[in-house]
Symmetry: C2
Subunit: 199 residues, 2 copies
């Protein structure tokens, strides 16, 4: 019997997507659920809802608390965390490269490495050199991958994933969706989403 | 040795406070933590932050999802849930009565019953008859309690709790605070707050 599937929708700009990406693989393995990684862009979705910046920048008290909150959660799951100098960061390049990798074998490792660079090492993931470094460490050819990532097909795929997120009325990231159309929002719902996927 | 203490700050208007109130007692018992119930009013705090309504009304997609989200969580913890016809509801009367009860023995049972009336039975908790019904079921004298709840001392206490919440930069409910000043926001952080309180 095939494993139940959970779609994991993330934005590299989203710090709670970083937490989810850091812990989803072992939890899904333990639950016997297959995860499909789905990068998308939250910016156009927030814009449609009248927000022109991260809600964490728009509501300063909440933003201030959020950094403390993420630090505590990162400590509990044992991953490094350092608030980046630039927030939010453009995820377009990283998302396109991730889509290339997700058709190959290295997409998930690449995605985790991007989140780590951004949220543990204070690197700016919109910079091609940062992405190139990550690819090199993963022994993925840089130039060919950059060329693939700029192909019309990949650009269209990222646009389509973002459009699908918008059609399905996403309003934040991470978002988890099950095959029966259920939607779960936030790193805090990962366990519940996995339980639902197994029903 | 005295038990470690966790302060549980809730607003009867807040649906995630309802979920936290429904599950905090057994979790705190199991953790060996003493919980102090602290009603406060979120309205003045939201107003200071430029919000004139519940964030769930201000951001419709999130509000729509929230109802589904609460339903799933209520199902998992085994409590009834029905989205109320009136949202948010004024918590002033219920909070004052709760403060009277929290100085006596019936404050927590009363608070849970108020949340249940509001979020499982579609009753309007700003109506004195609804509060009177709850008191009667708890065998608490209604008239004397209403008189106590309108005393200046209790009114001042609710104002002071709300002012304290504002000074401590709360931005939502429920909020949990530990004796060393750590702040946790949201029903999802209850377990983490209990772990922290025990450190």
């Amino acid at each position: 019997m095939p494993k139940p599937v959970l779609d994991f929708w993330f934005d590299f700009a989203s710090v709670y997507s970083f937490l989810a990406a850091s812990r989803i693989a072992p939890l899904a393995d333990a639950a016997g659920v297959q995860v499909r990684w789905r990068p998308f862009l939250l910016g156009p979705i927030f814009a449609t809802q009248g927000m022109t910046d991260s809600p964490f920048n728009l509501f300063p008290l909440r933003g201030k608390h959020m950094i403390r909150d993420v630090k505590r959660s990162a400590d509990e799951i044992g991953v490094g965390f350092r608030w980046p100098s630039v927030f939010p960061q453009s995820a377009v390049l990283a998302s396109r490269v991730a889509l290339v990798g997700l058709k190959d074998t290295w997409g998930e490792d690449f995605s985790r490495a991007v989140f780590h660079a951004e949220y543990a090492e204070n690197r700016v993931i919109s910079e091609p050199t940062v992405i190139a470094d990550i690819l090199t460490k993963l022994k993925v050819p840089v130039d060919a991958t950059f060329a693939s990532a700029q192909a019309d097909e990949i650009k269209a795929e990222l646009r389509e994933l973002t459009a699908e997120a918008q059609r399905r009325e996403f309003f934040g990231a991470p978002t988890f969706t099950t095959q029966d159309g259920e939607l779960f929002w936030g790193n805090d719902r990962l366990e519940q989403a996995l339980r639902w996927a197994k029903k």
